[in-house]
C-alpha cells in the first residue's frame, strides 16, 4: 500500500517536471520567436500582409501570450503536440513514425552493452589477470572513442571491405547489426567500468569474507554476493544511458543513414520547425521521468533495505 502511494507521488512529481519543461520551452520560445510564415514560404515576398496574418491566426500566434500558453498546456494535456510548420502533419504522427526505429536501436544497444558489462565484471572483478587488463583497455578505448568513429570503422571493414552487412538501406535485421554494435561498443566502456568498480568495492566487505569462510567458490561469491551490490549504481547509469540514446543518437543515425528521432530533431532545428522541436523536448523529458521511476522501482527489487516495511 505504501508502494502504491509512493508511486502515485512519483508520478505526480514526474508530471510536475513535464509541466516545468514545457513551460520553460514555451518561455524560451517567447524570447526567440520564430515566424511560421518565414519557415513555410522562406523569402517569398509575394505574401500579402493579409495572408500572413491569416497564417499566424491559423497557428494561434495572434492571441495574447497568456492565452497562447493556456492553449498550449491544454493541447499537451490532451496529447496534441500541434502541427509541424513545414510538413503540415501533426507532430505526434511525425514523432510516432520515427520513434519505433530509434527505440529498437537504443534498446538493443543498451541490452547488449549491459550484458557485456555484466559478463566482463563477473569474469574480472577482484582479480588481477591478463583478461582484466585486456578488458580494461577495451573499456578505455570505448569510453574515449566517439560513436561515429566506431561506426565509420565498422562500416569500412564490415560493409565496404568484406561486404557482410549493408551500408545504408533498410534491409531488415541485417541493416540493424552495425548501428547496434556501434552504440553498444560506445556505451559498454562506462557501464563496465562502473560495474566492476562497484563489484571490487563489494568484494572488500566483511560479508564476502564470511561467504569465503563457508567454502564458497570465487564464482559463487561474485555471482551470488558481489553482483547484487553493484546493481544499484549500474541501474542508475544504465537508465541514464538508455535515455540519452533515445533522445539523440543523431550522429550514429546519420552515419548509417537510418531514420529515427535524431534525424527529425536535426531537420526541425535547422528549419526552425518549432512545434516539432517542442514535441521532441517534451518527449525527452517524459522519457527521463519515466526511466527514473522505473529505476526507483528496480532499486527496491534489488535492495530489501529500500522496501518500506509494512510494520
Amino acid at each position: 500500500m505504501h508502494i502504491a502511494r509512493e508511486l502515485l507521488i512519483r508520478i505526480l512529481a514526474g508530471a510536475a517536471v513535464l509541466w516545468a519543461a514545457a513551460s520553460l520551452a514555451f518561455a524560451i520560445l517567447q524570447l526567440f520567436p520564430s515566424d511560421p510564415v518565414q519557415v513555410i514560404y522562406g523569402a517569398d515576398t509575394s505574401i500579402t500582409p493579409e495572408v500572413r496574418a491569416a497564417i499566424r491566426a491559423d497557428f494561434g500566434l495572434d492571441r495574447p501570450v497568456w492565452e497562447q500558453y493556456q492553449h498550449f498546456l491544454i493541447r499537451i494535456a490532451q496529447g496534441d503536440l500541434g502541427i509541424s510548420y513545414q510538413q503540415r502533419r501533426s507532430v505526434v504522427s511525425i514523432i510516432g513514425s520515427e520513434l519505433g526505429s530509434t527505440l529498437v536501436l537504443a534498446s538493443l544497444s543498451v541490452a547488449i552493452a549491459v550484458l557485456m558489462a555484466c559478463v566482463a565484471s563477473l569474469l574480472t572483478s577482484g582479480r588481477r589477470t591478463w583478461l582484466r587488463r585486456v578488458l580494461s583497455s577495451i573499456e578505455l578505448l570505448s569510453v574515449s572513442t566517439p560513436a561515429f568513429w566506431i561506426g565509420i570503422l565498422l562500416l569500412t571493414f564490415f560493409s565496404f571491405k568484406w561486404q557482410l552487412f549493408p551500408v545504408v538501406a533498410d534491409e531488415g535485421w541485417r541493416s540493424l547489426v552495425l548501428p547496434v554494435v556501434t552504440l553498444a561498443l560506445a556505451v559498454f566502456g562506462s557501464l563496465s567500468q562502473v560495474m566492476r568498480e562497484e563489484m571490487d568495492l563489494a568484494l572488500e566487505q566483511p560479508f564476502i569474507l564470511t561467504a569465503r569462510t563457508r567454502g564458497l567458490s570465487e564464482w559463487a561469491i561474485r555471482w551470488r554476493h558481489a553482483f547484487g551490490h553493484a546493481l544499484i549504481p549500474f541501474i542508475t547509469i544504465s537508465t541514464e544511458i538508455f535515455g540519452g540514446l533515445l533522445a539523440g543518437s543523431i550522429i550514429t543515425e546519420q552515419v548509417f543513414g537510418r531514420p529515427g528521432l535524431g534525424r527529425i530533431t536535426l531537420e526541425a532545428i535547422t528549419n526552425h520547425d518549432i512545434p516539432v522541436v517542442m514535441g521532441i523536448v517534451l518527449l525527452v523529458a517524459f522519457v527521463f521521468v519515466a526511466l527514473n521511476i522505473v529505476a526507483d522501482l528496480l532499486y527496491r527489487v534489488v535492495d530489501p533495505r529500500l522496501r518500506v516495511s509494512a510494520s
Binding site: 569462510t213 563457508r214 564458497l216
Partner: protein, 533 residues
C-alpha cells in the same frame, strides 16, 4: 590426537611479519583463546587457519594439521572443502558480516548447498533447526528476514548458525561479541559454551581478557605478532609472567580499580583540583525531556541534573536513547517536549543565534574522532579552526595549539600530522584538545573510548581524569561499558528504552542495584576470575 595442531606458524606480508612462531593445539570440546590488541596479529592468525590470510601473505609452519590432515599445501578447491565443512568461522559485527541483500535463511542455506547434498525441502527444515539451535525465537518468521530486520544479538546468532551449518568440528570466533552490549554478549558467550560442551573445538579471538576468562581452557596473549604469555586461565590471571599481560590486566577498568590510575608508571601530577564554588544551579538540567521519531519514543520523559564539577555516567545498551539524549542536551536536536537549562538559564528553547555565543561552554567528544575531522586538515588546522571562534589574537594560535596538545599528552611534532597518520588514541587526544580549545565548562563524552584498545582506553580515561582536575570540568560520560562508567563516574544513570530506570552514587548503584534491568546488566558483566582462595 588433537583436533588442530599448529607448530611454529608464521605469517608475513611484504615488508612486515604479522605473526611469528605461534604453536598451539586445540582438542575437541576445548577452547583456546587468542588475546591481543589491534595489530597483535590475532585476526591474521585466525584467517591463516582457514587459508584466507590474503594473496600477498606468506604463510609457513612446521606443522598445520586438522584431524590429522595436513593443511599446509592445500589447493584452493581443497581449502574450500575445509572451510565451512571442517572449520566454521564467525566474524565480529554481524551487521556487516551478513550480506544485506540476502535473507538469513539463504545465507545459512549456502553452507548446506556447498557441503551437503541435502534436498531443497529438507534444507529449509535443516535451516529452521539451526536457527532454533542457536536460540533464535520464531525461526519460521526469521528465516525469510534480512540482516537489517534483526537485532544485533539475533544477527550474531544467525551468523553462528551459518558457520556451524555443515557441522564443522572446529569453530573460530573472531571478536564474536565486540559490537554487542553486555546482556547480549553474555547470551552469545553461553551459546558458545554450549557448543563447546557438545564437543566442538573453539578458537576464541578477542581483545578483552574478561570476555575470554569464562570460556577459555588455554589462553595465548599476543603482542606485535609474538606470543608473550601462554597458559591456563589460572596461570594467566593469578600469576601473569609477562609485564605486558600484567599491564593489560591492570588496564581493565572495573569495580576493583575504582580510584587509582589505570596506567602504571606516571603518577598523577596531582595538580590541586580547582575548588568549585558551590553553585545554586545544576550545570545542565533537563526537565521532562521527550523525543520521538516516527512514533517511536526514543527519549521518554527524562529528568536529569548534571551538577557542577561532577562526572555523571550514563549507561545503557545500544538503542537505549543515550546518544539522542546527548544531542538534545547539546541542543543539536530539539525535543518534542521538555526543556534543557544551562546553569539555570534557558538553553534548548533559545534561538540558534542566541545559543551560539554560549556553545563554547558545552563541548562534545565523540566515539569516532576520525569521522569528526576533515581528512585533509592537519592537526594544526583542526585546532586553529576551533581557536578562530575564541577571541585569541591570530599570532598566538600556534602557541596555544601547542599548549593544547601538551595538555593531552601530545607534542608540537603532531601539529603537522593528518588524522589518518595518527593512532586511534592520538586521534581521541586531538579531539579532546579541540574541545578544550573552547575553554568549556562541560564536556559531553559519547562513548569516547569504545573504539580503543584496552591499554589506550586506560590512557585516555586517565587523561580525562587529569583534565577534569586541572580545568575543573564537569563531565557527562556516556558508555555502554559498565566497567568504564564505574571507573570514571561519581554518579550514574542507567537508561533503558528511553527512560532513566535508575540513578544514584556509582558505588551504591553497582553494589545494590534496585531496578531489574540494572541487575540484569550487572549480572551479565564479564568478570576477571579471582584465584585468591
Amino acid at each position: 590426537m588433537p583436533l588442530l595442531n599448529v607448530e611454529n606458524l608464521s605469517v608475513s606480508f611484504p615488508g612486515a611479519a604479522a605473526i611469528r612462531g605461534l604453536s598451539f593445539t586445540v582438542d575437541a570440546g576445548q577452547c583456546v583463546a587468542i588475546v591481543g590488541e589491534s595489530g597483535s596479529g590475532k585476526s591474521v592468525t585466525a584467517r591463516a587457519l582457514v587459508g584466507l590470510a590474503g594473496d600477498n601473505a606468506a604463510v609457513s609452519a612446521d606443522r598445520l594439521q586438522l584431524d590429522g590432515r595436513d593443511l599446509l599445501n592445500l589447493s584452493p578447491s581443497q581449502w574450500r572443502s575445509v572451510r565451512g565443512r571442517q572449520i566454521g568461522f564467525v566474524l565480529q559485527d554481524a551487521l556487516v558480516s551478513l550480506d544485506p541483500l540476502k535473507t538469513v535463511g539463504s545465507e545459512i542455506n549456502e553452507a548446506l548447498i556447498q557441503h551437503t547434498d541435502i534436498p531443497r525441502r529438507a534444507a529449509r527444515q535443516k535451516v529452521l533447526d539451526l536457527l532454533t539451535s542457536v536460540g533464535i525465537p520464531d525461526p519460521e518468521q526469521r528465516i525469510d528476514q534480512f540482516a537489517h530486520q534483526l537485532s544485533g544479538g539475533l544477527r550474531q546468532r544467525a551468523l553462528i548458525a551459518s558457520a556451524i551449518a555443515a557441522g564443522p568440528a572446529l569453530l573460530i570466533a573472531d571478536e564474536p561479541t565486540t559490537a554487542l552490549d553486555v546482556i547480549v554478549q553474555a547470551q552469545i558467550l553461553s551459546l558458545l559454551r554450549e557448543m563447546k560442551a557438545k564437543g566442538t573445538g573453539l578458537i576464541l579471538i578477542s581483545h578483552d581478557l574478561a570476555v575470554v576468562a569464562s570460556l577459555a581452557d588455554h589462553i595465548i596473549v599476543l603482542k606485535d605478532g609474538a606470543v608473550v604469555e601462554t597458559g591456563s586461565p589460572k596461570q594467566v590471571f593469578s600469576a601473569p609472567q609477562a609485564a605486558y599481560t600484567r599491564a593489560l590486566l591492570a588496564a581493565i577498568p572495573s569495580v576493583q580499580t575504582k580510584g587509582p590510575r589505570l596506567t602504571a608508571g606516571m603518577d598523577a601530577e596531582t595538580a590541586s583540583p580547582i575548588e568549585q564554588a558551590p553553585s545554586e544551579w545544576a550545570a545542565l538540567e533537563a526537565r521532562a525531556l521527550t523525543k520521538s521519531y516516527e512514533g517511536w519514543l526514543v527519549v521518554d520523559n527524562v529528568d536529569m541534573k548534571l551538577q557542577t564539577g561532577e562526572t555523571l555516567g550514563l549507561v545503557g545498551a545500544s538503542g537505549s536513547g543515550k546518544t539522542t539524549l546527548a544531542r538534545l542536551l547539546l541542543a543539536l536536536q530539539q525535543p518534542n517536549k521538555g526543556k534543557v537549562f544551562l546553569n539555570g538559564k534557558p538553553w534548548s528553547h533559545l534561538t540558534e543565534r542566541q545559543r551560539r555565543p554560549l556553545r563554547p561552554r558545552l563541548q562534545l567528544v565523540s566515539q569516532d574522532p576520525l569521522g569528526s575531522f576533515d581528512p585533509r586538515y592537519k592537526v594544526i588546522d583542526i585546532l586553529t579552526e576551533a581557536l578562530r571562534i575564541t577571541d585569541l589574537p591570530k599570532r598566538e594560535w600556534t602557541a596555544r595549539a601547542t599548549q593544547l596538545l601538551q595538555f593531552v599528552g601530545l607534542s608540537e611534532t603532531h601539529l603537522s600530522r593528518r588524522p589518518r597518520q595518527l593512532s586511534g588514541g592520538q586521534r581521541q587526544r586531538v579531539a579532546i584538545a579541540r574541545a578544550l580549545a573552547m575553554q568549556p565548562d562541560i564536556l559531553i563524552c559519547d562513548e569516547p573510548v569504545s573504539a580503543l584498545d584496552v591499554s589506550t582506553q586506560a590512557q585516555v580515561l586517565d587523561l580525562l581524569e587529569d583534565l577534569k582536575r586541572q580545568f575543573g570540568l564537569t563531565i557527562l560520560f556516556i558508555s555502554h561499558d559498565l566497567g568504564v562508567v564505574h571507573h570514571v563516574s561519581d554518579r550514574v544513570m542507567v537508561m533503558h528504552a528511553g527512560r532513566i530506570v535508575e540513578e544514584g552514587p556509582v558505588d551504591t548503584v553497582f553494589a545494590h542495584p534496585r531496578d531489574a534491568y540494572t541487575q540484569g546488566l550487572l549480572a551479565a558483566l564479564p568478570r576477571l576470575p579471582s584465584y585468591e582462595a
